[in-house]
Amino acid sequence: MTSRSQRYLLCAALAGLPLAGAAPAQAQDREPKLWQASLEELMQVRVTTASRRAQAAEDVAAAVFVITRQDIRRSGLTTLPELLRLAPGVQVARVSASKWAISIRGASRVRSRSLPCGASRTPGHTRLHAARRPARIQTDRSSLGHRPRTQPARPPSSGILGGAQRLCRLDDPAKRTPDAALELLT
């Protein structure tokens, strides 16, 4: 009987040893171990941005500035380019009676390519998308009754958004939003 219980004890000890040894080892495994990775493992690792995690371009951190409906009403402004002046960092210049030059961070030109923006078609829709060509905003087409919510974005200084985005067309004739509001990612 004694010998049998001793054997049980031995079994229990043998079972316990590797478990006890494995626990701290597994905790360590969760930590980055780039220096231990083989070439094959390194080739499977996903390359991330400086924020140290893979993320979509529209989720990259950018300052946000919202021009509310009340702001628009109080300002008395009637055109979108003029309203964009309310946001810090946005440069708006009137080129002619019908043309505006708008950009974020830097000097603006009529065909400025430094302002990526997306006009959301539904409230709450915040996805950034690049317009195909630079916009020339026409004053007669940019009265507020015709504007959807508009979200220009100033890329972070590291330029993660890259140069692919273009100044987008701010008009969306198909959509009329009586309660226009501007949401600026600057």
Partner: protein, 183 residues
């Protein structure tokens, strides 16, 4: 028999726990990955014994990207390469003298070509992160494909410099050759 069954169970459990593979790291920044790859390149390259005698330190020179140098210094404290200590030296327009492995970040074509010419027949493993580095006379360059770090090797350049690159490295690399591209 019962105790033996218990013993077997215990052993099976031990094997199962002991062989659990550590989870491979899923994501890293490009400089971290480049540094880790550079150590592996050094691991699978053989330098002439006159250049790198047994027991001598392996010298890695880094030009242009301090983040790669910093990560390398950090990694080098944790591990050796071919049983050698690794020394990391950031360089700026210095020649390749004293370097066994030279990492060149960025394109800067004129300076880069000057450096590649200076390193041409010396046993220095030249690695760059511009896509045309290996084709332009360098030996290895990084490129990113499908969000993963890949590398291309120009075996001819390594051979001319008297370096032997392991087949394990060549197997995982994209092979490029200046001659076949008419350069």
């Amino acid at each position: 028999m019962t105790p033996y069954r218990g013993l077997l169970t215990a052993m099976a459990l031990a094997v199962a726990v002991g062989t659990t593979n550590p989870e491979a790291r899923q994501a890293a920044t490009a400089p971290e990955l480049k540094a880790a790859f550079l150590l592996n390149f050094a691991r699978y390259t053989t330098w002439p014994a006159t250049i790198l005698p047994r027991g001598a330190d392996l010298s890695i020179c880094v030009s242009g990207d301090n983040r790669v140098a910093d990560t390398l210094i950090d990694l080098a404290t944790r591990q050796q390469v071919q049983d050698r200590a690794v020394t990391v030296r950031p360089i700026k327009n210095d020649g390749p003298d004293g370097c066994h492995l030279l990492f060149w970040s960025g394109s800067q074509t004129a300076e880069r070509q000057a450096l590649l010419q200076a390193a041409a027949d010396k046993p220095v493993l030249t690695v760059g992160d511009a896509a045309d580095f290996a084709r332009a006379g360098g030996m290895i360059n990084f490129f990113i494909e499908d969000h993963r770090m890949r590398f291309a090797i120009n075996p001819g350049a390594a051979e001319r410099a008297g370096l032997r690159v392991s087949s394990r490295l060549l197997k995982l690399a994209v092979i490029v050759n200046e001659v076949s591209l008419g350069l």
